[in-house]
């Protein structure tokens, strides 16, 4: 959000999946910069899926909601599947009361489940290590 980097959350590539997140300090410029950077990376990295962790977002207002919906649609047009992961319960309650259902936006409980939905289960959590987590 300050200058070139938009808040310090990098976009990581894991195979053909991109993983990134949004910070609570997301302002309008940051939201638009995020959309541009992510869509460019989807094409450049030929990503078939994207997990966006939003567990740090303390509020989602109608502007951020619109950003997420447009980002999902844009990515789908490019051929990539966006998963929004880790929404806080208070944010979900508030969004519903606002009248925003984030139609068309795929969500998961957390980033790990988002990755699993994109086929990363075995790689991320080998069965032998499950008991230790």
């Amino acid at each position: 959000m300050n200058g070139g980097t938009r808040g310090g959350v990098p976009i990581l590539r894991l195979g053909d999946v991109l993983v990134t997140g949004l910070l609570n300090e997301l302002d309008d410029k940051g939201a638009l910069a995020f959309t541009e950077e992510l869509t460019e990376r989807i094409v450049a990295d030929r990503a078939r899926g994207v997990v966006i962790d939003i567990s740090r977002l303390e509020i989602i207002d109608s502007f951020v909601a619109r950003t997420l919906m447009e980002l999902t649609t844009t990515s789908r047009l490019l051929g990539s599947r966006v998963i929004v992961a880790g929404m806080r319960p208070a944010v979900a309650i508030t969004l519903v009361e606002l009248g925003l259902r984030l139609s068309g936006v795929e969500t998961t409980l957390n980033a790990e489940q988002g990755l699993r939905a994109l086929g990363w289960e075995q790689t991320l959590v080998p069965p032998a290590e499950r008991g230790a987590r």
């Binding site: 309008d28 319960p89 925003l100």
Partner: protein, 151 residues
């Protein structure tokens, strides 16, 4: 002057330490700092997490409306009490063109700007009391209260 809603001003009085916070909304960065100020006020007023989120989100919608449609404005945050209940009052005033059709402005999906058209109606649903005063050429003032505790 068109008025939507009705907040009974008389028995509402300052509460707590009476801290009245004023926040200017002149630039986009002010939307973010306004949210911080409102968050602090909700914490000081003792609101739970979900209510904090409701109030900060409503403030964000109202501040954005004032910035986008009103060319900027002022947000006043004030702890209030009435009949033994404590709450927080937000008042956002701008000197913009005013809202020509208040009923339409409350309709979900109605938008003249960059949002989803849920701003005003959505903010009303997140707060307990809501009032809009507007006149063509004389700006818009939105006042909203959220009460703490069971409703």
């Amino acid at each position: 002057m068109t008025v939507y809603g009705d907040i009974d001003e008389v028995p509402t009085r300052p509460a707590g330490d009476g801290t009245r916070l004023t926040h200017e909304i002149r630039a986009e960065e002010d939307l973010l700092s306004a949210r911080h100020t409102v968050r602090e006020a909700t914490l000081r007023a003792g609101f739970g997490l979900v209510d904090q989120t409701r109030i900060v989100t409503a403030a964000s919608e109202l501040a954005r409306n004032a910035y986008v449609h009103g060319g900027g404005g002022i947000l006043v945050i004030e702890p209030v009490q009435r009949d033994g209940r404590h709450g927080l009052r937000l008042r956002v005033s701008d000197d913009g063109p005013g809202i020509a059709d208040l009923d339409a402005a409350f309709t979900d999906g109605y938008t003249t700007g960059a949002g989803l058209g849920h701003g005003l109606g959505g903010a009303r649903r997140l707060m307990d009391e809501f009032e809009v005063r507007s006149a063509p050429g004389q700006g818009t003032t939105v006042t909203a209260i959220r009460w703490n505790g069971p409703r």
